[in-house]
């Protein structure tokens, strides 16, 4: 493993964003702007049933009454919602005579991103749902999974094929009124993944969704719903990239997870949206609502995120610990380099008895990057025996970046034990020189130090993605020292 890691680290030679290309494919776009008609049009494009349209419209009308939140420690550029395209879909032209229903252009695009869509080429043990702009392009291994009763498909398809499941769980964790961006998403969400693991089933492979923004001036509003029925287990991973563009692009996603009694869900994210250039021009504005509900007793939801991309990240993957003895975890590494800003953290809401939560947050700031941890640990009155441990570390490279922590603790049960630890450290010129003196280049030295620092979180990722994440950490910090 270590050898592998070294190899990957050594392969990294260029600090440029590697995924910044644009696929030249005919794309169906609707006119810019957001009105009730646009919401209806999106719903119609997706051939949705009436109840889905009603949900969207309710959300849209509510959104009109809302204001963008201003509490985050972020400088957010003005977003003109009338200047955004809310639906863009690649027009697929399958190669004649090919068995595949996917346009070869798209296969090529995802190949280039390291996400082969042909099953025989896939790393065994990973099923992928590939989403480009507003639609799902292809979901692999669905037949294999279906044999176990696992449903893994695009969200649009789930609305058509599994309406009762979608209706039962949609917005049960993130209501359409939840917050400005979640409400916006509820009105205009395009595609995303849907996943249902039946009772007593351990999903035999990693499920993953790969999100790609391609078209300019488009927003991406994906919606993911993941349901783990009683005593089931699933590990899920999402990855994302976007072309390099001078303008900011909006990404406002919602992820909902429900874990029934005894179920366990691991949700991992490697977020690598285009971060903007060195001067802070362009980049994705990433406003994401992710929340899991440990609904049944003894259930567990674990979030792991490696956030290296986006110009702005606003994201708080959270757990509602409703079942007794349920467990919530949040492991995060967030990097801000150049002019990137991140305000990220989690909420752990302890409702059930003997609920446990762990928060490990590692912020890394370089350049002019600003990195804030914001977390809430809330223990309700009935949550007898609740426990939380939080560890928030900040690592600074250089002296123009910033790290901030905003921990909120609200405890209404005297038996609760809540611990919070925080540290701030700096990669010193002397540490780099010490490595140099042993023959290690500055880039590799930063890689060593940063990966050492983030190891506790990286280790939580599925193995093959851990290597990828290490590589990403190093790339995203290149050029940040010396």
């Amino acid at each position: 493993m270590e050898n592998d890691q070294d190899k990957v680290l050594n392969e990294v030679t260029s600090g440029e964003y590697k995924y910044g290309f644009v696929t030249d494919i005919e794309t169906e776009v609707i006119p810019k702007g957001l009105t009730e008609d646009v919401v209806r049009l999106i719903s119609a494009k997706k051939q949705e049933p009436e109840w889905m349209l009603e949900f969207r419209l309710k959300a849209f009308r509510h959104w009109l009454t809302m204001k963008m939140p201003a509490w985050a420690n972020l400088k957010i550029p003005e977003i003109n919602y009338q200047d955004i395209i809310f639906y863009a879909a690649p027009r697929q032209r399958p190669a004649p005579g090919s068995l595949s229903e996917v346009d070869p252009q798209l296969i090529k695009t995802f190949d280039k991103l390291g996400i082969p869509l042909e099953e025989q080429k896939r790393l065994t043990g990973v099923a992928v749902d590939a989403v480009m702009d507003s639609i799902s392009v292809k979901t692999t291994f669905r037949e294999t999974l279906a044999e176990l009763g696992i449903i893994f498909c695009s969200f649009s398809e789930a609305v058509r094929e599994h309406p009762s499941l979608v209706q039962k769980y949609l917005a049960s964790v993130v209501p359409y009124t939840d917050n400005f961006f979640a409400t916006l998403n509820s009105a205009v969400f395009s595609d995303g993944s849907f996943c249902y693991i039946p009772k007593d089933v351990r999903c035999p492979m990693e499920l993953s969704t790969y999100f790609r923004i391609n078209t300019s001036n488009t927003g991406q509003f994906e919606r993911t719903l993941l349901i783990a029925d009683e005593e089931s287990y699933v590990s899920y991973l999402e990855g994302c990239t976007a072309p390099m563009r001078d303008e900011n692009q909006l990404h406002a996603a919602v992820v909902e997870i429900v874990a029934e009694r005894g179920a366990e869900v691991k949700y991992s994210t490697v977020q690598n949206w285009y971060p903007g250039d060195r001067d802070g021009k362009g980049g994705i504005l990433n406003f994401v609502t992710k929340r899991g509900m440990c609904k049944g007793d003894d259930s567990k939801i674990s979030w792991t995120q490696v956030e290296t991309g986006s110009a702005i990240t606003w994201k708080y993957p959270s757990c509602i610990l409703r079942g007794n003895n349920s467990t919530g975890e949040f492991y995060s590494v967030a990097v801000t380099n150049n002019y990137q800003q991140a305000d990220t953290g989690t909420k752990m809401i302890h409702i059930g008895k003997n609920t446990k939560s762990t928060i490990v947050s590692k912020g890394i700031s370089a350049g002019f990057g600003q990195n804030s941890y914001r977390g809430l640990v809330k223990v309700l009155g009935k949550a007898e025996g609740a426990r939380n441990f939080s560890q928030c570390d900040s690592l600074l490279l250089g002296d123009k970046c910033g790290a901030h922590t905003f921990p909120y603790i609200e405890v209404d049960n005297p038996s609760a034990i809540v611990e919070h630890e925080a540290t701030t450290s700096r990669i010193g010129e002397d540490q780099i020189f010490y490595c140099n003196q042993r023959g290690i280049s500055t880039e590799d030295a930063i890689g060593l130090i940063v990966n050492g620092y983030a190891r506790e979180v990286i280790n939580k990722l599925p193995m093959e993605f851990a290597v990828e994440a290490q590589k990403l950490l190093q790339i995203s910090l290149e050029g940040s020292v010396g």
């Binding site: 270590e2 050898n3 070294d6 450290s425 010193g428 010129e429 002397d430 540490q431 020189f433 010490y434 490595c435 140099n436 003196q437 042993r438 023959g439 290690i440 280049s441 500055t442 590799d444 060593l448 130090i449 050492g452 620092y453 190891r455």
Partner: protein, 266 residues
């Protein structure tokens, strides 16, 4: 053209923040030689080590330094290390989160790559670790930890010698590796140095004390004073310094400096 000298420093001048620290220093080291540099606090010994290893807080303003006949001052710090220059730091740096194993493996393989060699296999690497650990009698508990993190002063120094043994340099600079060591550790460090000492490995030992030189017998002893080498002699000079201190040298040096000034063509 291969030089007869491994290291050749000619009339070196260097400053920190525009303050002149090295004020015209020359030194020649042949392969296999051991040189000791002594001198009072603040005379510029560590600064000289920093110049040789390429630390950028020191600016070279004049003079030249060649290593195996090549201009050393043109090389980046990591290139110098890969060419075989090793510094045992006066104050070794802690790097939390980076394991000694990972650190050493990266360093060795970078150096091997530079010399056109394949990376060591995991088993080769581990057996080399084991061998060198025994050599410097360093505890496995230490090499399993992060680089220098929480090491005692003496443990840090031993760890420097362990790294030196692992990297097998052509030129080792030991900057007060002996200070803060107990008698056993001193013997171990000296042993480590004597083990790597060979026909083509040279060592520059910076020290304040004769006691290390009881174990590592130098070919030359130099006394540094206010940025210059003011006296060079054989190992007996260290003994004399131990007995008499630096004052007599200071006087001699002042005289030498005056004559040097008056000799100068203005």
């Amino acid at each position: 053209m291969k030089s007869e000298f491994l290291l050749q420093i000619k009339d070196l001048k260097a400053s920190i923040d525009n303050k002149s620290i090295i004020k015209g220093l020359s030194l020649e080291v042949k392969p296999g030689e051991i040189h000791a540099i002594m001198g009072p606090n603040g005379s510029g010994k560590s600064t000289l080590a920093n110049v040789l290893t390429g630390r950028d807080l020191v600016t070279v303003t004049d003079g030249s330094v060649t290593f195996e006949g090549r201009n050393l001052l043109d090389m980046s710090p990591e290139e110098r290390a890969r060419e075989g220059i090793f510094l045992s730091f006066q104050y070794p740096i802690e790097i939390p989160g980076v394991s000694m194993v990972n650190f050493m493996k990266t360093a060795i393989n970078e150096q091997r790559k530079h010399r056109g060699l394949e990376p060591l296999s995991a088993s080769e690497f581990l057996s080399q670790m084991r061998e060198k650990k025994e050599l410097v009698e360093i505890d496995s508990a230490l090499t399993n930890r992060s680089v220098n993190e929480g090491f005692s002063g003496g443990e840090k120094k031993k760890n420097e010698i362990f790294q030196m043994a692992m990297l097998e340099p052509r030129l080792a600079l030991l900057d007060e590796t002996d200070s803060g060591l107990d008698i056993d550790a001193l013997r171990i460090v000296a042993n480590g140095v004597n083990k790597i000492r060979s026909a083509d490995t040279s060592v520059i030992v910076i020290t304040h004390y004769q006691r290390l030189l009881d174990y590592i017998i130098p070919d030359f002893v130099h006394v540094m004073f206010d940025g210059r080498i003011v006296k060079s002699a054989g190992p007996e000079l260290a003994l004399e310094l131990e007995k008499r201190g630096y004052d007599w040298i200071r006087k001699e040096a002042d005289i030498a400096e005056e004559s040097w000034i008056t000799d100068r063509k203005l």
